[in-house]
Subunit: 201 residues, 2 copies
């Protein structure tokens, strides 16, 4: 990827997240970047192609960072906490209407986002839950049951339809879901660690 291509993608991604896909025009992206539309079209022949490439780049960024957290020497509670904080920081930049915009106008893109995060949660959270059980920070429930409930629970609330009909922000919903999920499976020792991190924030 050229520097120019990456610059276009990064800016377009920020704009799509903040203002939604539908409301953002190629003219606006070109003008913000001080580039001609022709330059942008050279790399991305349509807005759909641009948004798809932007989502791919964002997913790579997320996957890399989550892998770094997973591969660190932290305990399981801190890993889960850091993953949620990291995802939360990205979500803070997403306008609430953006996800709904995706779901309605670009259902294939929303499907890609949903598949990506289901896989991300499934693979990484499974590893951390098993680590947490070994560390005596997570109760010895079967990992498959914990995972099925967690994946379904997260998908149910971090979801355009739910958020549009809710009076709570993405960040509020994320924080409550994290609290509930942690309380559901942590041992006393795990809870102590979790509360310490939360207060330190």
């Amino acid at each position: 990827m050229t520097k120019e291509e990456e610059l276009i993608l990064t800016r377009a991604r920020e704009k799509f997240m903040r203002e939604g896909f539908h409301r953002t025009t190629m003219d606006e992206i070109a003008s913000e970047l001080r580039m001609s539309k022709k330059t942008i079209y050279k790399y991305f022949p349509s807005k759909e192609k641009l948004v798809n490439a932007a989502v791919t780049l964002l997913q790579k960024y997320i996957a890399n960072n989550v892998t770094k957290i997973i591969e660190s020497d932290d305990n399981a509670v801190l890993k889960i906490y850091k993953i949620f904080e990291f995802i939360g920081k990205i979500m803070e930049k997403v306008n609430e209407k953006t996800l709904e915009d995706f779901r309605r106008r670009l259902p294939e893109v929303w499907q890609r986002i949903d598949d990506f995060r289901t896989k991300l949660i499934q693979e990484n959270l499974t590893t951390v839950v098993n680590q947490g059980k070994e560390e005596d920070l997570i109760l010895p429930y079967p990992t498959s049951i914990i995972m099925a409930i967690y994946v379904a629970g997260i998908r149910a609330v971090i979801n355009p339809e739910f958020l549009m009909n809710s009076s709570f922000s993405l960040t509020e919903v994320k924080n409550i879901a994290l609290d509930m999920m942690m309380c559901a499976v942590l041992t006393d020792k795990g809870k102590e660690i979790f509360n310490k991190y939360k207060q330190g924030n």
Copy 2:
């Protein structure tokens, strides 16, 4: 409904739950009831009609009993506990293959079961969660978020596909889901009450 019709329905329901829809023949039902198939066909012209009527009767029985628990003077924790125990007792009679049998061979019936329980959980659990918050037994999380996570979580694990691919019984999965759900939202006072009921069992 005549006594005879009710008798047929009750026995057919037990047999369907225990042995599955596909494996149970009208001949077997007739022979168990010491009735002619003609008598059964008078009320239920097909096995599909019989299973649909049996499911309706079971749903009425469940709805009546859940309503009784909801309308009692018990505290919220005891109500949730009693509802799960009651549903658990019914589920113990269901062969694990029966749900899968429904899902594959009678998808409309499985859809009816799934819709019914989603509505049952949604309506009744919402009432009890609000009661529990007033009683200081449930943490003051927004009820809509608790409910969305709970409905999705229950549907994800009390589910033919999950159970068929899992090495845990319906009852084991139900108990773990209840433990996780309770721990996620109960106050310390709520947890104390919950543990007392569990030990008394």
